[in-house]
Protein backbone atom coordinates (compact mmCIF):
# COMPACT_ATOMS: atom_id res chain seq x y z
CA UNK A 1 0.00 0.00 0.00
CA UNK A 2 1.50 3.32 -1.02
CA UNK A 3 1.25 6.65 0.70
CA UNK A 4 -1.10 9.14 -0.84
CA UNK A 5 0.28 12.04 1.17
CA UNK A 6 3.74 12.54 2.51
CA UNK A 7 4.83 15.39 4.71
CA UNK A 8 8.57 15.86 5.29
CA UNK A 9 10.34 18.30 7.56
CA UNK A 10 7.29 20.52 7.66
CA UNK A 11 8.04 23.71 9.55
CA UNK A 12 6.07 26.90 10.01
CA UNK A 13 7.31 29.89 11.92
CA UNK A 14 5.29 32.96 12.81
CA UNK A 15 7.85 35.58 13.68
CA UNK A 16 9.94 33.87 16.31
CA UNK A 17 7.40 31.24 17.21
CA UNK A 18 7.56 27.82 15.57
CA UNK A 19 3.99 26.59 15.32
CA UNK A 20 5.10 23.44 13.55
CA UNK A 21 8.62 22.10 13.56
CA UNK A 22 10.20 19.38 11.39
CA UNK A 23 7.09 17.22 11.21
CA UNK A 24 7.22 14.02 9.13
CA UNK A 25 4.35 11.67 8.54
CA UNK A 26 2.43 9.90 5.80
CA UNK A 27 -1.15 9.03 5.06
CA UNK A 28 -1.67 5.61 3.57
CA UNK A 29 -3.73 5.28 0.43
CA UNK A 30 -7.27 4.30 1.32
CA UNK A 31 -6.56 4.56 5.02
CA UNK A 32 -7.94 6.71 7.80
CA UNK A 33 -5.17 8.47 9.66
CA UNK A 34 -5.72 10.39 12.84
CA UNK A 35 -3.83 13.53 13.80
CA UNK A 36 -4.08 14.16 17.51
CA UNK A 37 -2.45 16.28 20.16
CA UNK A 38 -3.29 18.81 22.86
CA UNK A 39 -4.73 22.17 21.89
CA UNK A 40 -2.20 24.38 20.22
CA UNK A 41 -0.08 21.43 19.11
CA UNK A 42 -0.19 22.66 15.53
CA UNK A 43 -2.71 20.29 13.99
CA UNK A 44 -4.79 22.87 12.16
CA UNK A 45 -1.59 24.61 11.12
CA UNK A 46 -0.56 21.37 9.41
CA UNK A 47 -3.87 21.32 7.56
CA UNK A 48 -3.32 24.91 6.53
CA UNK A 49 0.16 24.07 5.28
CA UNK A 50 -1.05 21.08 3.30
CA UNK A 51 -3.84 23.08 1.67
CA UNK A 52 -1.68 26.09 0.92
CA UNK A 53 -3.51 28.46 3.25
CA UNK A 54 -0.17 29.05 4.95
CA UNK A 55 3.13 29.09 3.13
CA UNK A 56 5.70 26.71 4.62
CA UNK A 57 8.80 28.06 6.26
CA UNK A 58 10.51 24.86 5.19
CA UNK A 59 9.66 21.26 4.37
CA UNK A 60 7.66 19.57 1.65
CA UNK A 61 4.20 18.23 1.02
CA UNK A 62 3.98 15.44 -1.52
CA UNK A 63 0.67 14.16 -2.88
CA UNK A 64 0.45 11.09 -5.07
CA UNK A 65 4.14 11.40 -5.69
CA UNK A 66 4.07 15.05 -6.77
CA UNK A 67 5.40 17.98 -4.78
CA UNK A 68 2.50 20.27 -3.97
CA UNK A 69 4.20 22.45 -1.38
CA UNK A 70 2.85 26.01 -1.31
CA UNK A 71 0.25 25.44 -3.99
CA UNK A 72 -2.51 28.06 -4.06
CA UNK A 73 -5.45 26.88 -1.95
CA UNK A 74 -7.88 26.90 -4.83
CA UNK A 75 -5.62 24.62 -6.84
CA UNK A 76 -5.25 22.17 -4.00
CA UNK A 77 -8.86 21.16 -4.38
CA UNK A 78 -8.25 20.55 -8.06
CA UNK A 79 -5.29 18.37 -7.19
CA UNK A 80 -7.54 16.14 -5.12
CA UNK A 81 -7.44 17.33 -1.52
CA UNK A 82 -10.39 18.96 0.20
CA UNK A 83 -11.06 19.85 3.82
CA UNK A 84 -13.46 20.93 6.48
CA UNK A 85 -12.82 23.57 9.13
CA UNK A 86 -12.68 23.49 12.88
CA UNK A 87 -15.12 26.37 13.18
CA UNK A 88 -17.44 25.33 10.35
CA UNK A 89 -17.18 27.61 7.36
CA UNK A 90 -20.34 26.92 5.50
CA UNK A 91 -21.91 29.40 3.11
CA UNK A 92 -24.19 30.29 5.97
CA UNK A 93 -26.91 32.19 4.17
CA UNK A 94 -27.24 29.75 1.32
CA UNK A 95 -29.43 26.67 1.34
CA UNK A 96 -28.06 23.21 1.96
CA UNK A 97 -28.55 22.47 -1.71
CA UNK A 98 -26.74 25.58 -2.85
CA UNK A 99 -23.82 24.93 -0.54
CA UNK A 100 -23.14 21.66 -2.28
CA UNK A 101 -24.16 22.85 -5.75
CA UNK A 102 -21.63 25.66 -5.54
CA UNK A 103 -18.88 23.23 -4.68
CA UNK A 104 -19.74 21.11 -7.70
CA UNK A 105 -18.58 23.88 -10.01
CA UNK A 106 -15.42 22.05 -10.95
CA UNK A 107 -17.43 19.28 -12.58
CA UNK A 108 -18.72 21.68 -15.21
CA UNK A 109 -16.79 23.38 -17.93
CA UNK A 110 -19.20 25.86 -19.47
CA UNK A 111 -17.99 29.43 -19.78
CA UNK A 112 -19.53 32.87 -19.30
CA UNK A 113 -20.93 33.04 -22.79
CA UNK A 114 -22.68 29.74 -22.24
CA UNK A 115 -24.20 31.20 -19.07
CA UNK A 116 -25.17 34.52 -20.62
CA UNK A 117 -27.02 32.99 -23.50
CA UNK A 118 -28.19 29.82 -21.79
CA UNK A 119 -26.57 27.71 -24.50
CA UNK A 120 -27.12 23.91 -24.64
CA UNK A 121 -23.79 23.19 -22.97
CA UNK A 122 -24.91 25.27 -19.99
CA UNK A 123 -28.25 23.51 -19.72
CA UNK A 124 -26.72 20.07 -19.99
CA UNK A 125 -23.96 20.63 -17.47
CA UNK A 126 -26.15 22.50 -14.99
CA UNK A 127 -28.56 19.60 -15.03
CA UNK A 128 -25.69 17.24 -14.32
CA UNK A 129 -24.49 19.43 -11.46
CA UNK A 130 -27.92 19.46 -9.90
CA UNK A 131 -28.23 15.72 -10.21
CA UNK A 132 -24.83 15.25 -8.65
CA UNK A 133 -25.76 17.57 -5.79
CA UNK A 134 -28.98 15.72 -5.11
CA UNK A 135 -27.17 12.39 -5.21
CA UNK A 136 -24.56 13.53 -2.71
CA UNK A 137 -27.17 14.96 -0.40
CA UNK A 138 -29.10 11.71 -0.53
CA UNK A 139 -26.06 9.59 0.22
CA UNK A 140 -25.21 11.81 3.17
CA UNK A 141 -28.78 11.85 4.39
CA UNK A 142 -29.43 15.54 3.88
CA UNK A 143 -31.85 15.54 0.96
CA UNK A 144 -34.93 16.21 3.07
CA UNK A 145 -33.31 19.40 4.33
CA UNK A 146 -32.05 20.53 0.99
CA UNK A 147 -33.94 23.82 0.99
CA UNK A 148 -33.10 24.75 4.56
CA UNK A 149 -30.73 27.63 5.14
CA UNK A 150 -27.36 26.29 6.25
CA UNK A 151 -27.23 28.54 9.27
CA UNK A 152 -30.44 27.15 10.67
CA UNK A 153 -29.35 23.52 10.68
CA UNK A 154 -28.54 21.76 13.91
CA UNK A 155 -24.84 21.65 14.60
CA UNK A 156 -24.35 17.98 13.75
CA UNK A 157 -25.99 18.42 10.37
CA UNK A 158 -23.94 21.50 9.65
CA UNK A 159 -20.81 19.43 10.07
CA UNK A 160 -22.27 16.78 7.85
CA UNK A 161 -23.06 19.42 5.25
CA UNK A 162 -19.50 20.65 5.34
CA UNK A 163 -18.30 17.13 4.70
CA UNK A 164 -20.78 16.78 1.83
CA UNK A 165 -19.49 19.99 0.33
CA UNK A 166 -15.93 18.72 0.57
CA UNK A 167 -16.98 15.53 -1.22
CA UNK A 168 -18.54 17.51 -4.07
CA UNK A 169 -15.08 18.16 -5.43
CA UNK A 170 -14.35 14.45 -5.93
CA UNK A 171 -11.33 14.45 -3.66
CA UNK A 172 -9.01 11.54 -3.19
CA UNK A 173 -7.85 12.81 0.20
CA UNK A 174 -10.25 14.31 2.69
CA UNK A 175 -8.97 16.41 5.58
CA UNK A 176 -11.42 16.65 8.47
CA UNK A 177 -10.73 19.20 11.20
CA UNK A 178 -12.43 18.14 14.43
CA UNK A 179 -15.61 16.86 12.76
CA UNK A 180 -16.98 15.58 16.06
CA UNK A 181 -16.49 18.78 18.02
CA UNK A 182 -19.51 19.56 20.13
CA UNK A 183 -21.25 16.27 19.39
CA UNK A 184 -22.81 13.95 21.93
CA UNK A 185 -21.85 10.25 22.04
CA UNK A 186 -24.69 9.20 19.72
CA UNK A 187 -23.81 11.75 17.09
CA UNK A 188 -20.14 10.85 17.42
CA UNK A 189 -21.00 7.22 16.82
CA UNK A 190 -22.99 8.16 13.73
CA UNK A 191 -20.17 10.30 12.47
CA UNK A 192 -17.70 7.51 12.92
CA UNK A 193 -19.78 5.19 10.81
CA UNK A 194 -20.29 7.94 8.27
CA UNK A 195 -16.58 8.53 7.84
CA UNK A 196 -15.94 4.83 7.42
CA UNK A 197 -18.79 4.59 4.93
CA UNK A 198 -17.68 7.47 2.77
CA UNK A 199 -14.13 6.22 2.80
CA UNK A 200 -15.32 2.92 1.42
CA UNK A 201 -17.90 4.29 -0.94
CA UNK A 202 -15.85 7.07 -2.46
CA UNK A 203 -12.53 5.20 -2.22
CA UNK A 204 -10.91 8.04 -0.30
CA UNK A 205 -8.06 8.43 2.07
CA UNK A 206 -8.86 10.42 5.19
CA UNK A 207 -6.76 12.48 7.58
CA UNK A 208 -8.75 13.49 10.61
CA UNK A 209 -7.92 15.83 13.48
CA UNK A 210 -9.85 14.87 16.55
CA UNK A 211 -10.01 15.19 20.31
CA UNK A 212 -12.58 12.45 20.91
CA UNK A 213 -10.15 9.66 21.83
CA UNK A 214 -12.83 7.05 21.50
CA UNK A 215 -13.53 8.03 17.91
CA UNK A 216 -9.87 8.22 17.05
CA UNK A 217 -8.92 4.86 18.54
CA UNK A 218 -11.77 2.99 16.91
CA UNK A 219 -11.83 4.74 13.57
CA UNK A 220 -8.22 5.36 12.69
CA UNK A 221 -5.91 2.72 11.38
CA UNK A 222 -2.88 4.85 11.99
CA UNK A 223 -2.32 7.76 14.39
CA UNK A 224 0.12 10.65 14.42
CA UNK A 225 0.58 12.54 17.69
CA UNK A 226 1.74 16.15 17.81
CA UNK A 227 2.82 18.23 20.76
CA UNK A 228 4.18 21.78 20.72
CA UNK A 229 4.44 21.64 16.98
CA UNK A 230 6.57 18.52 16.88
CA UNK A 231 5.75 14.93 16.16
CA UNK A 232 5.64 12.96 19.34
CA UNK A 233 4.61 9.53 18.15
CA UNK A 234 3.39 7.75 15.04
CA UNK A 235 1.87 4.27 14.79
CA UNK A 236 -1.00 1.92 15.34
CA UNK A 237 -3.74 2.87 17.82
CA UNK A 238 -2.71 0.25 20.36
CA UNK A 239 0.86 1.45 20.33
CA UNK A 240 -0.19 5.04 20.74
CA UNK A 241 -2.61 4.19 23.52
CA UNK A 242 0.18 2.72 25.56
CA UNK A 243 2.84 5.29 24.67
CA UNK A 244 4.01 6.97 27.86
CA UNK A 245 4.99 10.20 26.18
CA UNK A 246 1.56 10.56 24.65
CA UNK A 247 -0.14 9.98 27.96
CA UNK A 248 2.09 12.53 29.60
CA UNK A 249 1.50 15.09 26.90
CA UNK A 250 -2.23 14.86 27.42
CA UNK A 251 -2.29 14.64 31.18
CA UNK A 252 0.55 17.02 31.88
CA UNK A 253 -0.82 20.31 30.65
CA UNK A 254 -2.95 19.54 27.62
CA UNK A 255 -6.71 19.07 27.77
CA UNK A 256 -8.96 16.01 27.89
Amino acid sequence: MSDILEVRGLTKRFGGLAAVSEVDFSVRQGGITGLIGPNGAGKTTIFNLITGVYKVTSGTVTFEGKDITDTEPYLVADIGITRTFQNIRLFKNLTVFDNVLTACHASAGYNLADSFFRLPRFRREEKALREKTLELLTILGLEDRKDAIANGLPYGLQRRLEITRALALDPRLLLLDEPAAGMNPDETEQLMRLIGDIRNRFKLSVLVIEHHMDLVMRLCEHIVVLNFGQKLADGLPDAIRGDKRVIEAYLGGGDE
Partner: protein, 292 residues
Protein backbone atom coordinates in the same frame (compact mmCIF):
# COMPACT_ATOMS: atom_id res chain seq x y z
CA UNK B 1 17.79 76.41 -3.29
CA UNK B 2 15.90 78.71 -1.03
CA UNK B 3 12.80 78.04 -3.08
CA UNK B 4 13.32 74.32 -2.71
CA UNK B 5 13.65 74.58 1.04
CA UNK B 6 10.59 76.76 1.18
CA UNK B 7 8.64 74.18 -0.78
CA UNK B 8 9.89 71.49 1.58
CA UNK B 9 8.66 73.48 4.53
CA UNK B 10 5.30 74.04 2.89
CA UNK B 11 5.11 70.37 2.09
CA UNK B 12 5.93 69.50 5.66
CA UNK B 13 3.21 71.80 6.81
CA UNK B 14 0.45 70.20 4.76
CA UNK B 15 2.03 66.84 5.46
CA UNK B 16 1.56 67.29 9.16
CA UNK B 17 -2.16 67.92 8.68
CA UNK B 18 -2.37 64.76 6.58
CA UNK B 19 -0.42 62.99 9.32
CA UNK B 20 -2.95 63.89 11.98
CA UNK B 21 -5.74 62.62 9.73
CA UNK B 22 -3.88 59.48 8.74
CA UNK B 23 -2.81 58.47 12.23
CA UNK B 24 -6.37 58.68 13.51
CA UNK B 25 -7.48 56.43 10.67
CA UNK B 26 -4.55 54.03 11.06
CA UNK B 27 -5.08 53.70 14.79
CA UNK B 28 -8.61 52.49 14.31
CA UNK B 29 -7.52 50.29 11.42
CA UNK B 30 -4.76 48.62 13.38
CA UNK B 31 -7.03 47.65 16.25
CA UNK B 32 -10.31 47.00 14.50
CA UNK B 33 -8.89 45.78 11.22
CA UNK B 34 -11.41 48.04 9.60
CA UNK B 35 -11.22 51.24 7.61
CA UNK B 36 -13.41 53.86 9.22
CA UNK B 37 -14.53 55.73 6.15
CA UNK B 38 -16.59 58.05 8.31
CA UNK B 39 -13.32 59.51 9.60
CA UNK B 40 -13.56 62.36 7.11
CA UNK B 41 -16.91 63.44 8.47
CA UNK B 42 -15.50 63.62 11.97
CA UNK B 43 -12.60 65.72 10.76
CA UNK B 44 -15.07 68.07 9.13
CA UNK B 45 -17.07 68.35 12.33
CA UNK B 46 -13.86 69.23 14.13
CA UNK B 47 -13.38 72.14 11.80
CA UNK B 48 -16.91 73.34 12.44
CA UNK B 49 -16.73 72.81 16.21
CA UNK B 50 -13.59 74.92 16.39
CA UNK B 51 -15.05 77.56 14.12
CA UNK B 52 -18.19 78.02 16.16
CA UNK B 53 -16.32 77.84 19.43
CA UNK B 54 -14.27 80.83 18.33
CA UNK B 55 -16.85 82.86 16.47
CA UNK B 56 -20.05 82.18 18.36
CA UNK B 57 -18.90 81.18 21.81
CA UNK B 58 -16.08 83.68 21.62
CA UNK B 59 -13.71 81.30 23.35
CA UNK B 60 -9.99 81.89 23.33
CA UNK B 61 -8.12 79.55 21.04
CA UNK B 62 -6.91 76.95 23.55
CA UNK B 63 -10.41 76.49 24.93
CA UNK B 64 -11.98 76.38 21.50
CA UNK B 65 -9.38 73.89 20.38
CA UNK B 66 -10.06 71.66 23.37
CA UNK B 67 -13.78 71.89 22.83
CA UNK B 68 -13.32 70.87 19.23
CA UNK B 69 -11.27 67.78 19.86
CA UNK B 70 -13.31 66.68 22.82
CA UNK B 71 -16.42 67.14 20.69
CA UNK B 72 -15.01 64.99 17.92
CA UNK B 73 -13.82 62.34 20.35
CA UNK B 74 -17.37 62.07 21.64
CA UNK B 75 -18.77 62.11 18.12
CA UNK B 76 -16.46 59.31 17.04
CA UNK B 77 -17.54 57.16 19.96
CA UNK B 78 -21.21 57.86 19.25
CA UNK B 79 -20.71 56.80 15.63
CA UNK B 80 -19.00 53.64 16.80
CA UNK B 81 -21.82 52.76 19.15
CA UNK B 82 -24.55 53.39 16.62
CA UNK B 83 -23.08 52.34 13.31
CA UNK B 84 -20.45 49.71 14.10
CA UNK B 85 -21.03 48.11 17.44
CA UNK B 86 -24.28 46.37 16.46
CA UNK B 87 -22.52 44.95 13.44
CA UNK B 88 -19.58 43.77 15.52
CA UNK B 89 -21.95 42.00 17.83
CA UNK B 90 -23.60 40.23 14.96
CA UNK B 91 -20.24 39.34 13.44
CA UNK B 92 -21.39 41.02 10.29
CA UNK B 93 -19.20 40.70 7.20
CA UNK B 94 -16.61 43.35 6.41
CA UNK B 95 -18.80 44.75 3.65
CA UNK B 96 -21.54 45.79 6.06
CA UNK B 97 -19.11 47.86 8.11
CA UNK B 98 -17.92 49.73 5.05
CA UNK B 99 -21.48 50.43 3.98
CA UNK B 100 -22.43 51.60 7.45
CA UNK B 101 -19.39 53.87 7.48
CA UNK B 102 -20.51 55.28 4.16
CA UNK B 103 -23.96 55.89 5.62
CA UNK B 104 -22.48 57.71 8.60
CA UNK B 105 -20.31 59.77 6.30
CA UNK B 106 -23.29 60.77 4.13
CA UNK B 107 -25.26 61.63 7.23
CA UNK B 108 -22.52 63.81 8.68
CA UNK B 109 -21.88 65.72 5.48
CA UNK B 110 -25.53 66.35 4.76
CA UNK B 111 -26.68 67.23 8.23
CA UNK B 112 -24.28 70.13 8.03
CA UNK B 113 -25.51 71.10 4.58
CA UNK B 114 -29.11 70.87 5.70
CA UNK B 115 -28.73 72.81 8.91
CA UNK B 116 -25.83 75.20 8.63
CA UNK B 117 -25.61 75.35 4.88
CA UNK B 118 -22.89 74.69 2.32
CA UNK B 119 -21.24 78.09 2.25
CA UNK B 120 -17.57 78.26 3.00
CA UNK B 121 -16.58 79.74 6.29
CA UNK B 122 -13.27 81.21 7.27
CA UNK B 123 -11.66 81.06 10.63
CA UNK B 124 -10.79 84.42 12.05
CA UNK B 125 -7.08 85.11 12.14
CA UNK B 126 -6.11 83.62 15.43
CA UNK B 127 -2.38 83.64 15.07
CA UNK B 128 -1.88 86.45 12.70
CA UNK B 129 -0.57 86.15 9.22
CA UNK B 130 3.02 86.92 10.04
CA UNK B 131 5.72 84.53 9.10
CA UNK B 132 8.86 83.85 10.96
CA UNK B 133 12.02 83.72 9.00
CA UNK B 134 14.30 80.80 9.70
CA UNK B 135 17.29 81.42 7.52
CA UNK B 136 16.15 81.40 3.89
CA UNK B 137 12.69 80.08 4.58
CA UNK B 138 9.59 81.68 5.94
CA UNK B 139 7.27 79.68 8.12
CA UNK B 140 3.85 80.98 8.96
CA UNK B 141 3.01 81.21 12.63
CA UNK B 142 0.07 78.95 12.06
CA UNK B 143 2.30 76.36 10.50
CA UNK B 144 4.73 76.47 13.38
CA UNK B 145 1.98 75.98 15.87
CA UNK B 146 0.61 73.17 13.74
CA UNK B 147 3.98 71.39 13.69
CA UNK B 148 4.34 71.85 17.41
CA UNK B 149 0.88 70.62 18.26
CA UNK B 150 1.14 67.70 15.85
CA UNK B 151 4.47 66.70 17.29
CA UNK B 152 3.13 66.90 20.82
CA UNK B 153 0.01 64.91 19.95
CA UNK B 154 1.84 62.21 18.11
CA UNK B 155 4.47 61.89 20.80
CA UNK B 156 1.74 61.80 23.39
CA UNK B 157 0.01 59.07 21.43
CA UNK B 158 3.15 57.00 21.18
CA UNK B 159 3.83 57.37 24.90
CA UNK B 160 0.27 56.45 25.70
CA UNK B 161 0.35 53.36 23.54
CA UNK B 162 3.76 52.20 24.72
CA UNK B 163 3.81 53.15 28.37
CA UNK B 164 0.34 53.01 29.82
CA UNK B 165 -1.66 49.95 30.78
CA UNK B 166 -4.51 50.92 28.47
CA UNK B 167 -2.00 51.53 25.74
CA UNK B 168 -0.67 48.02 26.07
CA UNK B 169 -4.19 46.70 26.11
CA UNK B 170 -4.70 48.48 22.81
CA UNK B 171 -1.55 46.93 21.38
CA UNK B 172 -2.66 43.49 22.51
CA UNK B 173 -6.07 43.98 20.96
CA UNK B 174 -4.49 45.21 17.76
CA UNK B 175 -2.55 41.99 17.54
CA UNK B 176 -5.40 39.68 18.38
CA UNK B 177 -8.76 40.82 19.73
CA UNK B 178 -9.96 37.44 20.87
CA UNK B 179 -6.78 36.55 22.67
CA UNK B 180 -6.74 39.93 24.40
CA UNK B 181 -10.31 39.40 25.57
CA UNK B 182 -9.40 35.97 26.90
CA UNK B 183 -6.58 37.56 28.84
CA UNK B 184 -8.93 39.86 30.64
CA UNK B 185 -8.77 42.94 28.47
CA UNK B 186 -12.05 44.81 28.35
CA UNK B 187 -12.14 44.89 24.58
CA UNK B 188 -15.28 46.97 24.46
CA UNK B 189 -13.57 49.71 26.39
CA UNK B 190 -10.49 49.38 24.23
CA UNK B 191 -12.61 49.91 21.14
CA UNK B 192 -14.21 52.97 22.69
CA UNK B 193 -10.89 54.48 23.65
CA UNK B 194 -9.39 53.80 20.26
CA UNK B 195 -12.27 55.53 18.52
CA UNK B 196 -12.11 58.40 21.01
CA UNK B 197 -8.41 58.84 20.30
CA UNK B 198 -9.01 58.63 16.58
CA UNK B 199 -11.78 61.17 16.93
CA UNK B 200 -9.56 63.45 18.96
CA UNK B 201 -6.87 63.39 16.31
CA UNK B 202 -9.53 64.00 13.69
CA UNK B 203 -10.75 67.03 15.57
CA UNK B 204 -7.27 68.48 15.84
CA UNK B 205 -6.70 67.85 12.15
CA UNK B 206 -10.03 69.44 11.34
CA UNK B 207 -9.36 72.62 13.27
CA UNK B 208 -5.97 73.06 11.68
CA UNK B 209 -7.27 72.30 8.26
CA UNK B 210 -10.04 74.81 8.75
CA UNK B 211 -7.62 77.43 9.97
CA UNK B 212 -5.19 76.85 7.14
CA UNK B 213 -7.80 76.70 4.40
CA UNK B 214 -11.56 77.05 4.82
CA UNK B 215 -14.44 75.30 6.48
CA UNK B 216 -16.97 73.55 4.28
CA UNK B 217 -19.04 70.37 4.50
CA UNK B 218 -16.97 68.41 1.99
CA UNK B 219 -13.75 68.58 3.96
CA UNK B 220 -14.19 64.86 4.42
CA UNK B 221 -13.10 64.33 0.84
CA UNK B 222 -9.59 65.37 1.76
CA UNK B 223 -9.36 62.27 3.86
CA UNK B 224 -8.96 60.24 0.71
CA UNK B 225 -5.44 61.58 0.66
CA UNK B 226 -4.85 60.53 4.23
CA UNK B 227 -6.00 57.00 3.38
CA UNK B 228 -3.53 57.00 0.55
CA UNK B 229 -0.86 58.33 2.89
CA UNK B 230 -1.64 55.56 5.34
CA UNK B 231 -1.35 52.94 2.60
CA UNK B 232 1.85 54.56 1.40
CA UNK B 233 3.38 54.41 4.83
CA UNK B 234 1.98 50.99 5.52
CA UNK B 235 -1.60 50.25 6.56
CA UNK B 236 -1.73 49.52 10.24
CA UNK B 237 1.53 51.19 11.11
CA UNK B 238 1.30 54.47 12.99
CA UNK B 239 4.83 55.65 12.25
CA UNK B 240 4.10 54.60 8.69
CA UNK B 241 1.05 56.83 8.58
CA UNK B 242 3.12 59.79 9.69
CA UNK B 243 5.92 59.03 7.28
CA UNK B 244 3.55 58.47 4.38
CA UNK B 245 1.71 61.70 5.12
CA UNK B 246 4.79 63.83 5.37
CA UNK B 247 6.19 62.35 2.17
CA UNK B 248 2.89 62.86 0.41
CA UNK B 249 2.71 66.45 1.54
CA UNK B 250 6.23 67.15 0.37
CA UNK B 251 5.88 65.37 -2.96
CA UNK B 252 2.58 67.11 -3.63
CA UNK B 253 3.99 70.52 -2.89
CA UNK B 254 7.10 69.94 -4.96
CA UNK B 255 5.06 68.76 -7.92
CA UNK B 256 2.70 71.70 -7.61
CA UNK B 257 5.60 74.07 -7.31
CA UNK B 258 7.83 72.72 -10.04
CA UNK B 259 5.49 70.99 -12.45
CA UNK B 260 1.93 72.13 -12.34
CA UNK B 261 -0.58 72.86 -9.65
CA UNK B 262 -3.25 71.12 -11.70
CA UNK B 263 -1.66 67.77 -11.07
CA UNK B 264 -1.29 68.30 -7.38
CA UNK B 265 -4.33 66.35 -6.36
CA UNK B 266 -3.57 63.59 -8.79
CA UNK B 267 -0.23 62.86 -7.15
CA UNK B 268 -1.91 61.05 -4.33
CA UNK B 269 -3.54 58.72 -6.79
CA UNK B 270 -0.35 58.13 -8.72
CA UNK B 271 1.45 57.28 -5.50
CA UNK B 272 -1.35 54.93 -4.59
CA UNK B 273 -1.06 53.05 -7.86
CA UNK B 274 2.69 52.87 -7.46
CA UNK B 275 2.42 51.51 -3.93
CA UNK B 276 -0.21 48.94 -4.89
CA UNK B 277 1.83 47.67 -7.78
CA UNK B 278 5.28 47.68 -6.29
CA UNK B 279 4.88 47.40 -2.56
CA UNK B 280 1.34 47.00 -1.30
CA UNK B 281 2.42 46.75 2.30
CA UNK B 282 3.76 50.27 2.09
CA UNK B 283 7.02 51.61 3.40
CA UNK B 284 6.70 50.25 6.88
CA UNK B 285 3.93 47.78 6.59
CA UNK B 286 3.88 44.18 7.66
CA UNK B 287 2.18 41.25 5.98
CA UNK B 288 -0.07 39.04 8.01
CA UNK B 289 -1.61 35.74 7.07
CA UNK B 290 -5.22 34.94 7.64
CA UNK B 291 -5.79 32.36 10.32
CA UNK B 292 -8.07 29.48 9.47
Amino acid sequence: MAQFLQQMVNGLSIGSVYALMAVGYSLVYSVMNFSNFAHGGVIMFGAYFGFYAITMLKLPFPAAFALAFIGTAVLAVIIERIAYKPLRERKAPFLYFIISAMGASIFLENIIIATIGPTFRTYPDVFGRTSIALGPVAIGRLDLIMFAVSAVCLTGLVLFVEKTKMGRAIQASAYNMKAAALMGVNTDRVVMIVFALGGMLAGIAGVFFGMKYTVYPQIGNITTKSFVAAVFGGLGSLPGAVLGSVLLGIIETLVAGYLSSQFRDLIAFVILIGVLIFRPTGIMGKTTEDKA
